[in-house]
């Protein structure tokens, strides 16, 4: 019975795919709720790509179907993906802000014959779960490793690591530790604090008492980051010369107006800054700003979505609109192009994006707004996290 249902599924999917002249892409992301801003950025990136490159590939029209997943919820994520595949008959699944949501979808890809293009979820392991996963965002390992070199080059030998106690936080802690110890530095203490922490004064006291010359921090962007950076300034750590290192999640562009002067001078490493100086990025920012409405809300998930669309368009081109997930994924292995963030390519082995990671410093522009100023480039960074989990 089960076999028969599966066969029926496959028949429906294959049958409809072959004759479809409208190619549907199912995008799952947080479009409402506390993370709605990130979902909005997905949509802005996708809209920008379609505004710049048209809504047709060859003879086929591309149609995006959005599904809202307000918070990390693997069961709901899987249900939405199944609904998209079975009822909407999508040929591609894309989006996914949180790691658990993307992980939950990987088991159905082969059976559904659908590739998954991850536009944000940043845990290294996702790409190993299915050969049909391609990722166009970044991993926490990828963005956190170069900052270890920055810290070492700044003459810091002892660092205390402070992260929020959840998946990406632990990834960041491990990535920094591995990178920093390779450079010859020492992580004197590694603290994991609960996600719900509001008052960071005791943590700041702990940093002071540890005798470290610098602090490496990772927190989810939003209210907690604001509290942390303010506490860092107010408790006199900045004045005491304790240096602050973090991946770029902490200084994402949409938080900068709120962080204000408190963030000035903070150095972070990340794969994309809205201020990146290139003609590709200029065109992208213009189109994406138009799509999102308020340019101040534009941030990194938009570029992951933009490049994700580029990958999907290439896949549609390669398969001629036929449903063939393996062929589609094979077609983009090794694909390289100039993204708004700089030159990128899809690593044929891991199917993760290889890209430049930039060291940026929060700087005040002439018009009083704050931006991430790129000051150093680490070229062609792969994902060191994959080696670490093997």
């Amino acid at each position: 019975m089960k076999r028969a249902i599966i066969a029926a599924f496959a028949a429906i999917i294959l049958g409809s795919g072959a004759y479809a002249d409208t190619i549907k892409i199912g995008v799952v992301g947080p479009f409402s709720g506390p993370f709605a801003l990130q979902g909005k950025n997905f949509k802005a990136g996708i809209d920008a790509y379609m505004a710049m490159h048209g809504t047709t590939v060859g003879d086929d029209t591309v149609k995006i179907i959005y599904r809202d997943l307000p918070a990390a919820d693997p069961a709901q994520s899987k249900a939405l993906a199944q609904e998209l595949v079975v009822k909407e008959k999508v040929q591609y699944l894309a989006g996914f802000y949180f790691t658990p949501d993307a992980m939950a979808v990987t088991p159905i890809l082969k059976q559904a014959d659908v590739p998954l293009i991850v536009m944000n979820a940043a845990t290294s392991a996702i790409v190993t779960k299915s050969p049909l996963v391609v990722r166009t965002s970044f991993t926490t390992w990828q963005t956190s490793t170069p900052i270890a070199k920055v810290a070492h080059d700044a003459g810091v030998a002892k660092v205390i690591s402070i992260v929020s106690d959840y998946g990406p936080g632990i990834d960041a802690e491990n990535a920094f530790k591995a990178g920093f110890e390779k450079e010859g530095g020492a992580v004197v203490e590694a603290i994991r604090m609960p996600l719900s922490t509001n008052d960071f004064s005791p943590i700041m006291q702990r940093i002071k008492d540890s005798g470290a010359q610098g602090v490496f921090a990772f927190l989810p962007s939003g209210p907690t980051t604001l509290g942390f950076v303010k506490a860092y300034n107010e408790n006199g750590l900045k004045a005491a010369g304790i240096k602050f290192f973090a991946p770029g999640d902490l200084t994402q562009e949409s938080d900068l107006p709120a962080l204000g002067d408190a963030a000035l001078g903070i150095q972070t490493t990340f794969h994309y800054a809205v201020s990146h100086d290139s003609p590709e990025n200029k065109a992208f920012v213009e189109a994406a700003s138009k799509a999102i409405g308020n340019p101040a809300e534009l941030s990194f998930p938009s570029v992951g979505a933009f490049d994700g669309m580029n990958v999907i368009y290439k896949m549609i081109e390669a398969t001629g609109g036929e449903q063939d997930a393996q062929k589609a994924v094979d077609a983009v292995k090794g694909l390289s192009w100039i993204s708004p963030r700089g030159p990128v390519s899809i690593d044929p082995e891991s199917r993760h994006i290889t890209q430049n990671i930039y060291l940026r410093e929060v700087t005040k522009a002439d018009d009083g707004s704050y931006y991430n100023k790129e000051i150093q480039t680490f070229e062609k960074q792969g994902d060191p996290g994959l080696a670490a989990i093997k």
């Binding site: 604090m193 922490t197 004064s201 209210p223 509290g227 408790n235």
Partner: protein, 287 residues
């Protein structure tokens, strides 16, 4: 020793911020017997008004605070007259459903009007920066929050325990129909207490914004913390709430300093222990 002092100072400051934000809820829950889950929403409205006034209208901090309190009360008046009046004396479940509904509406409206990004309330130069206490430095606005917390505690205690209004309020709460029979206008008493509670929520929202930044999900994010403070302190008791804030602030801060990995384990352990020993809270009144 220095570390002990440091933790004590942090604990005291955190406790006072908690107190200012939660005390309004203690008033509605203890004195008016309304489980007001929309308390955080009113605090958030206060934060948004202050942020808008300070950032877009360019008003000073004091004016922004005043405007936030008054503005939130004005917004709350029709809500009280049309919605809350129906649930006075209703079963708790009805009150919870109604107020959580109001909270979701306010979150949606705030998200639509102000967008999902963080809003800050710029501090005046006098409250910026940090003060040197000799052995460590502390943010000036924390000292300000401590002073405000003490002032609010003292003012409320005086108003409820020592004034004619306080007598009428306590009478209305204990037995509304008897108080009404004795010529107390209970409706007006309730309306004024509600306004005060909402005003305090708004004040707390603005004052605590440095610690709990204003964004649309503020209303739900910190709800548990507010409820914990009220239930540990004993609903309606000003000294109880003050004591609860200081105890919880102390435990939370110490736990976070010594064993951050345990997270809020000690905080909730303390809550469970206190509620087991004092089911009505530290200073709760028997009914």
């Amino acid at each position: 020793m220095q570390t002990v002092f440091s933790i004590a100072i942090d604990a005291f400051a955190y406790g006072m911020v908690l107190f200012v934000i939660s005390i309004g809820l203690s008033v509605t829950m203890g004195l008016m017997r309304v489980v007001n889950l929309a308390h955080g929403a009113f605090a958030m409205i206060g934060g948004y008004i202050a942020s808008y006034a300070a950032q877009h209208l360019g008003l000073g901090y004091a004016v922004a605070v005043l405007l936030a309190v008054v503005g939130t009360v004005i917004i709350a008046i029709p809500i009280e007259r049309l919605l809350y009046r129906r649930i006075y004396g209703a079963p708790e479940l009805t009150q919870v459903l109604m107020t959580i509904g109001i909270t979701f509406c306010i979150i949606g409206i705030a998200n639509y009007v102000f967008g999902p990004t963080l809003k800050t309330i710029p501090l005046p130069p006098a409250l910026q920066g940090s003060a040197d206490l000799g052995f460590r430095s502390i943010a000036v606005h924390r000292l300000f929050a401590i002073v405000c917390g003490l002032a609010v505690a003292g003012g409320l205690w005086y108003a409820i325990e020592k004034t004619a209004f306080g007598v009428k309020l306590r009478a209305s709460v204990d037995n509304a129909s008897m108080a009404a029979a004795l010529g107390v206008r209970t409706e007006i008493i309730y309306a004024i207490s509600f306004a005060v509670a909402v005003g305090l929520a708004a004040f707390g929202g603005v004052l605590g914004a440095e610690l709990l930044p204003v964004e649309p999900y503020y209303a739900l994010r910190y709800m548990v913390t507010f409820l914990v403070v009220v239930s540990v302190g004993g609903a309606g008791s000003i000294p109880g709430a003050l004591l609860a804030c200081l105890v919880l602030g102390g435990i939370d801060t110490t736990g976070r300093y010594l064993m951050p990995e345990f997270g809020e384990f000690f905080f909730y352990l303390a809550v469970i222990a206190i509620i087991c020993v004092f089911p009505r809270g530290l200073a709760g009144r028997a009914r």
